[in-house]
């Protein structure tokens, strides 16, 4: 069990709910993933269709903690309003803060993200900011009150994995008091396991499961990978070495080894 923003949960996998082939597959994938936190967005509702009611009913049924996002926002103002609407709609102070600075790379705008985080923290939100692997930005987010930082592994939806492992490792080492979650870019269970092995508290992903040939099977794989990665971190990984070391004892080798060496 671990603590995420004052909630005690077991899974270290946070799962997005977009791009699944069907609502049923989404439900089965969430179950298979073991995730207890799922992300959602807000979009314009048509009066003619009431799709949101069905989606909301599912969210309630899932029993998961809801993490609304500000996806699509490009300014501090847009992000703040979206956070207010999310709080009104979902009755939660959790907000996954995304302020996009570039539509091609979906890279966050670090200046707007820090400013929006400052305002939202002052208003009592629990801000989950999506950021890059830049340590200084992470420190600024901490300085404005964030207890959780979510650096990307790689651009959203790219599936490239952890592109800058050293930067992530440094962030983990320099910010031991914060909850760090790798958000975006995870493409394979091995990427997720690696993030957990580095000491990250959790990973947040969506596309790698949603667009898999078999999303439910992939969700299961991520479930195992995240558990394995965390266990490996807690177990303490061995130090890598530049030279080989025999695993078996060299004392008491049979005579033919001595003959070969003489």
């Amino acid at each position: 069990m671990w603590n995420l923003a004052d909630k005690t949960i077991e899974s270290r996998l946070l799962l997005g709910t977009a791009r699944y082939p069907s609502p049923l597959v989404l439900q089965d994938a969430v179950k298979a993933s073991g995730s207890e936190v799922i992300t959602v967005s807000l979009r314009r509702e048509s009066a003619q269709e009431n799709m949101s009611r069905q989606f909301w009913d599912y969210l309630l049924e899932s029993g998961a903690h809801i993490l609304p996002n500000t996806a699509g926002c490009h300014s501090v103002k847009e992000a703040i309003v979206t956070a207010h609407l999310a709080r009104e709609l979902f009755d939660t102070n959790w907000i996954k803060l995304e302020v996009i600075g570039n539509d091609d790379t979906l890279q966050p705008d670090p200046f707007a993200t820090v400013e929006a985080a400052r305002i939202l923290n002052n208003e009592g939100f629990e801000v989950f900011p999506y950021t890059t692997d830049d340590l200084i930005v992470a420190e600024k987010l901490r300085d404005v009150g964030c207890r959780i930082i979510m650096p990307w592994g790689a651009p959203i939806g790219s599936g490239q994995g952890l592109r800058n492992v050293e930067a992530l490792r440094t962030m983990r080492r320099r910010l031991p008091e914060l909850t760090l979650i790798v958000d975006a870019g995870i493409g394979a269970p091995s990427h997720a396991a690696y993030a957990l092995e580095l000491g990250f508290d959790a990973v947040l992903l969506n596309t790698a499961v949603a667009l898999a040939d078999d999303p439910v099977k992939m969700a299961t794989a991520f479930n195992f990978a995240v558990s394995a990665g965390r266990m490996a971190y807690e177990g303490g990984l061995m130090q890598a070495s530049s030279r080989a070391h025999p695993s078996s004892p060299t004392v008491g080798l049979p005579f033919w080894h001595h003959e070969q060496n003489s």
Partner: protein, 66 residues
């Protein structure tokens, strides 16, 4: 008066409350949140917050997201 609801120009005879707007447009049984001119209107104020001419209304609902 003309207002804009989710990007579409919409006409009403006179200022109406958010509550009446949702009713008139068929949103009453929807699970939505409302912003007027980029400010969230909390549910308890739906009956007292009146929409004026040229107001920009956003009616948003939960959607899948990453």
């Amino acid at each position: 008066m003309q207002i804009v609801v989710n990007g579409k120009p919409t006409d009403f005879e006179k200022p109406i409350s958010v509550q009446d707007l949702l009713h008139r447009l068929g949103y009453l049984d929807h699970f939505v949140a409302v912003a007027v001119n980029q400010e969230c209107v909390v549910r308890r104020n739906y009956g007292t917050h009146f929409i004026k001419a040229q107001d920009q209304i956003e009616i948003l609902a939960p959607m899948a997201g990453g």
